[in-house]
Symmetry: C2
Subunit: 548 residues, 2 copies
């Protein structure tokens, strides 16, 4: 039996309409390449977004067209989020820090019709000119006074373009499963792959992600996304924050600069922020050095990489709670978030930090499970670890231009409809998930799984070790055993047996590396992560010194 | 362009699955007809709901069948919410306090296949026996020891029925627009009309309604819905509370009893509750009389009727904030809720209460507008008042068995897709909506609208007036002018001109009644509201004493 409820499709434009109507006076503050502290209201933002929608139409962009952006976190990028998606086009955010050939590949693969580009990114784009013949126009995100000289053709100035447009535009209504934005994810192998979000997935993610036990986004918050807007839609804050009527602060290109962050947090009264661990290290180091404070900053969401305990403890001293979360480009990204359950109110400080070190509990909307090699579900006992799989309305069903058939090559969804995250994790009885490794990096030894990350963390606590990577290598009896590859700190020497003896104090016997090899450098990916694929290749013919 | 996100349908059963997995130990406490204080966990609740789903199958209920309930707020009713909807059947909650002929009409109209009945409601049902020939079975919501004698046939005992079932049941997945529950609404005219909710509307309502600035439902709350589960799904708390992992307290049949409410609030540590104004009057009177407290009760949501200022002020003295809301059976019910905006932190106490007296701001998901007689939108200036219209994914598109064609007879949606609430309201520049009248009760005088409620409230502040109703009556020059019909307090006398002189101190000249008629009693509806339709009939031939 069909229900008798209105068929109101979930539209990204409805966020803008609601926000303008209910919070016209709320501020959005931006740092941009051409203005140190730009400030306007939701009302201005909504009117300019409508002008931009008219401008897109004028430039010949059509429903379904991909509109690329190469830009930092500021109000113009925010206007693009709403004008492009609101018009039924696809806002394709591109990371300007990728390798140039990856950027060229992504623009071509997505068939971007127009590119909106930050002034700072223009030199990069000019270098790519021969690869951009299919792009019909470039819009430089600045005003006339700051327009750069350029060898590119079909170039417009953002401010000039929208200045001549009407601010009257009626957002169209259409199927909520229409593509709203896309974001390419690049791994260690192969070409970047495009994740395509929908209006529906974006709105459900914003609703589920704003709940009190998730990010608790409210009109009373001042939110600064330090995670870039080209990185999984800045974790959804440009949607959730506007939906709630929060004051938004967009830090522009200087996101890794502790001084800028402290200035914005203190002067704009930021209560909530989010970013990757390295960003917070920069802020904390600046705070320590400058003896400045971040009084109102009640919490920061940390994701993108495991958050070191030290960051949690250092933030605590400044009165800020670290909320660790886990997600992927393919999960919009919200999968898990740190949140205490009722009954956990009396934890000791160190028990609390232990939990903050985990990746958090599953949010409503995301189902998660861990499975063994035979796809059998493992218990939530905090000990068993297996491949992490998730499903839900904001999880990718496949990549752009690749197979959408579950269980087939190129499709990240298994034949039972679960997305394979590529992570290996434990889940404790309270539902706190902890990533222990990547599926492809876990060391499979005698039917047991050994976490390479656990070995690396233990090794890094040795004062003589500067950097370390653990990989599985062939062993005649156990199939694989762990090999530790380490860089020694400057000017020190060590032996393998000395390191192994040290590790035996903290690691289970089964997780102890069989050997340690010292090297001068370790391979890394474009985004700075250890490239274990390359390392395994280097040590392809390695043999353990003795077989026990 | 289609997005590439999982096609995960929004299912009510997903709330149960999430809750059992993440909060197995969380408590649900109930007062029932057969047990003063029943207590179990989410894990028990989920297992019994699966048993009930198997029982429904055994009784021959099929996908899409309507399953009626005549019951109070307790755990068995909660199990029905999830087992019935989760199985793809329609949980049809019926108000046992309606007139018996209305109940018979509703059961017949919905074609209820089975009826689940509280012991206390059995006598009523037996009296209706001749009208229930199409119902294939009656399940008494109790255990064997408390089974009543009955003249009905095909009767089962709830506890016996589920005791023999397996607790293994896999919730089916299906289209989220499938009917999940239904609730009839009865007005002053015509037969009750059935509103049919979907899985989608219910989940979106739970998500949107749980946001920090709406009800802020979190795992740390202990929530007691005092609004009945047959009244718009207890305003959605059985979904939102379980989704959040809150402790739930269900007060059973004694909901209007101040002593029971105080006992539950104090002993179970209730932090948040919701109900109609009369419930809270009963509680406040009991608190005053017994000198007891409600320490942890931080807020109560009040809806269903305008909340008198005195309730807001009396609750404040007990440390509890009143959150007024507005909604209807047709809006699931959440339309507006009191919530301060950022920048309103420094209001004085009386300014704050002034705002709490309004019906609140529109929640994300509900669009609202006020329009004049020509359907032209009116400004949000707090002065202009017009017909209130809403739309959104949890708003009814029509009634069961009636026209679904917007703008036609019997369909509550106008030709532009807006639901006509039947209320007349103002909206202030901050978005706070205030109901000023019902569309059919507003007095249309010389092209202006006069609020009958404003006149009645002013009249009730006169010490000699016990009850009052204002209606529009024919006037040769102004089409209509207000007539006040009043009941005097016992043993006093008054004249029309005395009352009008008093009213002129607070009402605009235009709103002053042209005459006052004193009567011994006023007509009321089944639910206790003034029946102005009947009153207008009584005064059909009334003529104003002089025409000015």
């Amino acid at each position: 039996m069909q229900a008798l409820m209105m068929n109101s499709q979930l539209m990204i434009s409805s966020i803008l309409v609601h926000a303008e109507r209910n919070f016209p006076e709320t501020e959005i503050v931006s740092v941009t390449a051409d203005e140190p502290l730009h400030r306007y209201t939701y009302q201005d933002f909504a009117a300019r977004s409508r002008k931009l929608a008219n401008a897109l139409e004028k430039l010949g962009a059509k429903f379904g067209d991909r509109i690329g952006t190469l830009a930092w976190n500021d109000y113009r990028h925010l206007e693009l989020y709403y004008a492009v998606s609101g018009s039924g086009m696809v806002c394709h955010t591109i990371n300007p820090k990728l390798f140039p050939d990856q950027i060229a590949y992504i623009i071509k693969h997505a068939q971007d019709k127009l590119l909106f580009v930050d002034v700072l990114v223009m030199p990069l784009l000019e270098a790519l000119k021969p690869h951009l013949s299919e792009v019909s126009g470039f819009i430089v995100m600045t005003d006339k006074a700051h327009m750069p000289q350029t060898s590119l053709e079909n170039v417009w100035c953002y401010e000039e373009l929208i200045a001549e447009q009407s601010d009257v535009f009626t957002w169209p209504h259409f199927d909520e499963n229409t593509a709203s934005s896309m974001c390419y994810t690049s791994g260690t192998t192969g070409n970047p792959k495009g994740v395509v979000y929908s209006h529906r997935s974006t709105l459900l993610h914003a609703l589920g992600g704003s709940l009190p036990d998730v990010t608790n986004a409210s009109t009373h918050e001042t939110i600064m996304p330090v995670v870039p807007m080209f990185h999984v839609n800045a974790w959804g804050i440009p949607y959730a924050g506007i939906m709630a009527g929060s004051k938004l602060v967009l830090p522009g290109p200087k996101m890794a600069d502790g001084e800028t962050l402290q200035f914005l947090i203190a002067n704009e009264g930021i209560t909530y922020s989010s970013g990757v661990p390295t960003i917070w290290l920069a802020l904390l180091d600046y705070l320590d050095k400058s003896k400045t404070k971040v009084h109102k900053l009640s919490r920061v969401t940390v994701g993108g990489a495991a958050c070191p305990r030290s960051i949690i403890e250092r933030f605590k001293a400044y009165g800020t709670t670290v909320v660790q979360g886990w997600g992927m480009t393919e999960t919009s990204p919200l999968g898990t978030v740190f949140c205490l359950k009722r009954g956990m109110e009396d934890l000791s400080d160190s028990e609390l930090v232990d939990l903050q070190c985990k990746q958090g509990r599953g949010v409503f909307g995301i189902e998660m499970r861990i499975v063994d090699e035979n796809n059998q579900e493992l218990p939530w006992d905090g000990v068993a670890f297996g491949a992490l799989k998730v499903r839900g309305p904001w999880v990718a069903s496949g990549y752009y231009g690749m197979s959408q058939e579950p269980g087939t090559e190129g499709c990240p969804v298994d034949e039972h409809g679960w997305f394979e995250t590529g992570d290996v994790a434990t889940i404790d009885p309270n539902g706190f998930m902890q990533i222990t490794d990547r599926t492809k990096d876990v060391i499979k030894s005698g039917g047991e799984w050994v976490s390479s990350i656990e070995i690396e963390n233990a090794a890094l606590s040795h004062p003589k070790i500067a950097e370390a990577a653990a990989i599985g290598r062939y062993h005649p009896k156990w199939t694989e055993r762990p090999l530790l590859v380490a860089i020694l700190a400057e000017g020190v020497e060590a032996t393998a047996s000395e390191i192994i003896a040290f590790l035996s104090q903290t690691l289970h016997k089964w997780s102890l590396p069989d050997d340690v090899v010292f090297v001068k450098e370790l391979p890394h990916t474009a985004t700075g992560k250890l490239n274990k694929l390359a390392l395994r290749k280097t040590f392809e013919d390695y043999q353990f010194p003795e077989s026990h």
